[in-house]
């Protein structure tokens, strides 16, 4: 039985060690075996006939159970993200899920990773919804601001790729001002004009919730994160080996800019599957891993990029986006889709609790990442296995990682209201019984 966090336990918010965050992509789990042969793309023009809403009812509820379970198990945060027209990401609005989680969790950070700012008109909508989540949760929100992929923004949402980044930066400035300025103001932007900006509610966290930026490997993004003092999160599906070069580049840039090497400046995504033994882990996690790398990354290369989406500086540096990388891997046949190669290339870390702990400690140290975002449900993994993975990790891996990076201060973690000042959340079953 999982050991739930006792209510009198010291608050997580004072914890001074590497953060272990539980990330859900919410993949549709019923893509057919012949998906890759019969369908051109998991994203943008994936066919509606593949989507069964009655099945999805259970998928959503299972996934939300898993997120709540991860919070109960003591993960530092639960994470959700935004995708559109996507067969491996069923959260066009992660805010809906985060809002539900705010009511069903108590001491866990809520990381919305995040809202693609340029897609909202006006962008103050994001300032408002994030403020709502921050207030409902008593100040537990991490506000993620991705530019968004070309598939999501330019193709599914029809945004102009040539103006997307400028719109994104302007929306970022607008949201920040909407959160921090005390008086109603007029915003006279290049793309947005609003006579009366004055959002209600205002966030609990002051001056505003921590801002995290999921990004690829562009130097401009690194510099901007450093300048703004935002967290940079590299959300790659290709694990720690492939991520090393990007994170090395990030830290080299921080050195050049005279920033410290505080590991909490960074976040990194890693798939993990833990079991009693490596053999058992291999047996349990092969199918969901092969489902993810075989079916979920099957994106038509014609949607991999949109002209203008990648800046010219980034083109000169030879950096390509994730789906463009997949297209390249396909062309050169280097994308791993079989479990042996998936594990060998480090896309997924599998093993016994001790093996996984040792590997994660090594990854965190090598990449110098203090926010480890763990994908522990992936592909078509069912709820039982996701919970098993989560619980075993919480009980046997987590305790081995409590001292990593304890010497650094995490200035980018939510600062919620004190627990005794927050609304007590009555467990649903009790409330239901009381009502009878």
């Amino acid at each position: 039985m999982v050991s739930l966090r006792p209510l009198n336990m010291p608050s997580l918010w004072e914890k001074r060690a590497m953060k272990l965050m539980w990330f859900h992509l919410m993949p549709y789990t019923e893509l057919p075996d012949d998906f890759r042969d019969k369908h051109p793309s998991v994203w943008v023009d994936i066919h509606s006939s593949l989507f069964d809403p009655r099945r999805a009812h259970h998928i959503y509820n299972d996934f939300m159970d898993e997120l709540e379970f991860a919070a109960e198990c003591g993960f530092d945060a639960v994470c959700v993200n935004e995708h559109h027209s996507n067969g491996y990401g069923l959260m066009p609005s992660p805010n809906l899920i985060a809002s539900a989680l705010a009511r069903r969790t108590t001491d866990t950070a809520l990381c919305v990773m995040g809202n693609s700012l340029a897609l909202y008109n006006p962008p103050t909508r994001v300032a408002e919804e994030f403020a709502m989540i921050d207030v409902i949760s008593g100040g537990r929100l991490i506000a993620g601001f991705p530019v968004g992929t070309p598939m999501d923004t330019c193709f599914a949402y029809g945004q102009n790729p040539s103006m997307l980044r400028d719109r994104y930066y302007e929306a970022h400035d607008l949201v920040l001002r909407a959160w921090t300025e005390t008086d109603t103001f007029a915003f006279n932007g290049r793309f947005n004009q609003q006579r009366y900006v004055n959002i209600w509610p205002r966030p609990v966290q002051k001056p505003h919730p921590p801002i995290w930026i999921p990004g690829g490997g562009s130097i401009e993004t690194w510099r901007w994160c450093a300048e703004m003092d935002h967290v940079y999160a590299y959300l790659s599906y290709f694990g720690y080996q492939a991520g090393q070069a990007t994170m090395d580049g990030f830290w080299a840039e921080m050195d050049r800019l005279g920033k410290d090497r505080n590991p909490y400046r960074a976040g990194f995504l890693q798939f993990v599957g833990v079991a009693e033994s490596r053999e058992e882990a291999y047996r349990l996690y092969s199918e969901p891993a092969e489902y993810f790398y075989g079916r979920c990354l099957h994106v038509d290369p014609r949607f991999a990029n949109a002209p203008g989406y990648t800046s010219e500086a980034t083109q000169r540096a030879g950096v390509v986006g994730q789906v463009a990388q997949v297209a390249r891997m396909r062309r050169f046949d280097t994308l791993a889709r079989e479990m042996d190669a998936i594990v060998e290339k480090g896309y997924v870390i599998i093993g016994s609790p001790d093996e996984v702990a040792a590997r994660l400690k090594e990854v965190a140290t090598n990449l110098n990442v203090g926010h480890m975002m763990l994908l522990m449900q992936f592909g078509n993994m069912d709820k039982d296995l996701a919970k098993y993975n989560t619980q075993l990790f919480a009980e046997r891996v987590m305790p081995q990682l409590t001292d990593t990076f304890a010497e650094w201060e995490d200035r980018w973690w939510p600062q919620p209201m004190k627990r005794d000042a927050r609304a007590p959340l009555i467990p649903f079953q009790l409330a239901a019984m009381a009502a009878q």
């Binding site: 330019c154 193709f155 029809g158 102009n160 790729p161 040539s162 103006m163 290049r190 793309f191 038509d300 290369p301 014609r302 949607f303 949109a306 002209p307 203008g308 010219e312 083109q315 000169r316």
Partner: protein, 264 residues
């Protein structure tokens, strides 16, 4: 005998735009199509045999630097194209344009009717018909692009081939920039609602369509012809794709020159 090619530049919004000039006789402007003109093409030589051909580069297209980056609205675009034509000495001249350039040529003729003589449009963009949508020119796999734009894919490859010895990352970046500039003005459907302004065009207008155009359906030619107030004629060019001037340079040039003579 046509004169030598002259290259000059004009300044627009702080960016430079290349202007090519060649030939003798009355001026004829040409605004290039999707992809722009990274190099001189035989079609322009064919026009220059009878006319002084003037070819200004649209912002963001090869020769047009990053001028597109300050154009945020359709009004910004048309005002800039208008200034470009004036600065290139084309005010009042006959004007030809292909695809993207054809759309802007039509805009200029609609909004400033006195500034354009005759109009020759090669498969111009700017309209969208849900029943027969224009092909998405951007969401394409790179190897499929040449055959979408030209009947003979080699014509596109020749236009876009990096000059020997160039070996610079700037060449491919410039070609991507041309696609971006087209996207900036026409994303996502190619529809600038030009249809509303077509009735303002009083210039005699020739509509040229490649018989093998795989981007703009042939029915769009009829929509243009029906809406334009001036006299119109449609010419279909066999063996030509969307950028008909690349596939059949002599035939397209001869069609334009012949029609302009007949119209005068």
């Amino acid at each position: 005998m046509a004169s030598e090619l002259e290259t000059s530049s004009v300044e627009l919004n702080g960016f430079s735009s290349r202007v090519w000039k060649k030939g003798e006789g009355p001026k004829l402007g040409f605004l290039a199509g999707f992809g722009g003109l990274p190099r001189w093409i035989p079609f322009l030589d064919a026009l220059a045999r009878e006319r002084t051909v003037i070819v200004p580069s649209l912002p963001g297209f090869p020769g047009g630097e990053r001028g597109h980056t300050v154009l945020d609205s359709h009004l910004d675009w048309v005002l800039t194209v208008r200034q470009l034509l004036q600065k290139a000495g084309l005010d009042g001249a006959d004007l030809a344009g292909s695809s993207v350039g054809g759309s802007f040529a039509a805009e200029i003729a609609a909004i400033w009717p006195g500034s354009v003589g005759r109009l020759a449009l090669i498969a111009p963009w700017g309209l969208f018909d849900e029943k027969e949508p224009m092909t998405d020119p951007w969401a394409q796999r790179a190897p499929d692009v040449p055959a979408l734009l030209c009947a003979d894919p080699e014509r596109w490859n020749e236009l876009k081939a990096e000059p020997e010895g160039a070996n610079s990352p700037e060449w491919p970046i410039e070609q991507t920039r041309a696609n971006e500039a087209a996207a900036r003005a026409f994303w996502p459907l190619g529809n600038t609602r030009l249809e509303k302004r077509l009735p303002l065009i009083i210039a005699s207008t020739l509509l040229i369509w490649g018989a093998e155009d795989r981007i703009m359906p042939r029915s769009y030619a009829d929509r243009f012809a029906a809406a334009i107030a001036g006299k119109t004629r449609i010419a279909t060019i066999p063996g030509a794709g969307h950028l008909a001037e690349l596939d059949q340079p002599n035939e397209v040039a001869a069609t334009i020159l012949r029609w302009m003579k007949e119209d005068s």
